[in-house]
Amino acid sequence: MARKEFYGAGFPYRDFGKLTGKLIVLEGSDGVGRSTQIKHVRRWLEDEGYAVADTGLTRSELTGPGLDAAKSGHTLGPTTMSLFYAADFADRLENHIIPALQAGFVVLSDRYFYSMIARDSLRGIEKSWSQALYGIALRPHLILYLRASVPSLVQRLIHGRGLNYWESGMDLNLADNLYDSFVLYQTQIIQELEKLALEYNFVGIDADRTPHEIFEDLKRPIRLLLQNRLTKSERPF
């Protein structure tokens, strides 16, 4: 019973009825400034009179504790880790995103499953397996991709929250220090995201600029979406 709103079978045991809201995804590397942009977009859309919900900043109650435990020592294999994230994703989708869409909200998602596929593929997980797993996922109405170069990510992070273990991919043993590992890891992540960008029709936004300039660029496709005027190459389906 595949519905075209989903990438695969979705949740065949439930009929969600008509989803009148719009799902907008913001993808991009660690440190690219996604959460800042989501704040700006949210305020702007609310000023325009839209009801807005955002998701992705906090973990779901279902797996949050487990994921934290996993990151703090227990040696989870890549498949296990990947499934943990997928459970979290499914929970957010069914219990937060879809209900908000039913209620007609504009939902801003800080990342979606694309970055999980990118990070997992660097850890030896087959892409086709991940894509089948995320057959539960709803197709967003718009996927905005904040495209930044590694040097600009480094600059932003070092003057911001700093480099950390996971964002540097230290678990992959690419280098013996956070900086070198970050550069190698994020370079590979970006390569994966670029492939996904073609496959899923991301709308690229040049993020090597000031937050204000990025925000101004983000507004254009969002406005077109809300006026039902996106071109075919800008639509995820």
Binding site: A9, E61, H74, T75, L76, T80, L83, F84, A87
Partner: protein, 245 residues
């Protein structure tokens, strides 16, 4: 689907609805294989300590949906797969599993998930060398469970599916659906059916004959001390949910 076994080890699994008597049979088989000097590892469904600690709260709050329930069971399986089952198979151990991916294929689909989606999720796992399906008629299994155990649990009884207000009635309908899924998997995966209404001893005789045949010429990892294998977990194993797997 499931990958062919490319390891030095052997994988034996038992399947069937609750009350089919499979746990008794795998326990006897496990002990017998040990006495023969094989290296044997016993793995139980839903027993990864890490996943258990995280799902406990959700079970209590009854906040699972069929999809999250399914993915978290696969997470549990993957943790056991990556940390014990697969590396031990690689080393030449016989792994005996009380329930395997087929349990998910039966239960998760009975809960309404897409059959292909569930199968694809487990495609990192290996096809067992022997997969035994202990079949008992629904009423016998239900009677074995409701007669012997004090209280059915919420998810065990399939209460999340809102099939009936009564735990016993819901359990019966849910188990009937699962039984139906199992029956369909006999051909799909080449499960060997064992009549679970036969006397325990007679069933075990059939089981051993099948396993013996499969192990012909198999060397495996030596086990001169005839000790069972214990995989040490960073977190203490929680044994309180026994039986309700």
């Amino acid at each position: 689907m499931l990958r062919p076994n490319d390891t030095k080890g052997k994988l034996i699994v038992v399947e069937g609805i609750d009350g089919s008597g499979k746990s008794t049979q795998i326990d006897l088989l496990h002990k017998w294989l040990l006495s023969k000097g094989y290296s044997v590892y016993f793995s139980e469904w839903n027993s990864s300590a890490l996943v258990k600690s995280t799902t406990k709260a959700a079970k209590k709050a009854q906040s699972f949906t069929p999809a999250t329930f399914s993915i978290l069971h696969c997470t549990d399986f993957a943790d056991r797969w990556e940390n014990s089952i697969y590396p031990l198979l690689k080393a030449g151990v016989i792994v005996v599993a009380d329930r395997y991916a087929f349990t998910a294929f039966a239960r998760d689909v009975a809960r309404g998930n897409d059959p292909q989606w569930v199968r694809d999720m487990y495609s990192f796992a290996i096809k067992p060398d022997v997969a035994l399906y202990f079949r008992v008629p629904l009423d016998i299994a239900v009677e074995r469970i409701t007669g012997s155990r004090a209280k059915l649990k919420y998810y065990e009884a399939g209460m999340d599916l809102e099939l009936s207000e009564s735990y016993e009635e819901s359990f019966k309908i849910f188990q009937g659906r699962i039984l139906n899924e199992y029956d369909q998997m006999v051909d799909e995966f080449g499960l060997t059916m064992i009549d679970g209404t036969l006397p325990v001893k007679e069933q075990q005789k059939k089981v051993r004959a099948l396993v013996k045949k499969m192990l012909k010429g198999f060397e495996g990892l030596p086990n001169p001390g005839k000790h069972p294998i214990v995989v040490k977990n960073p977190q203490a194993r929680n044994k309180e949910d026994q039986g309700g797997n």
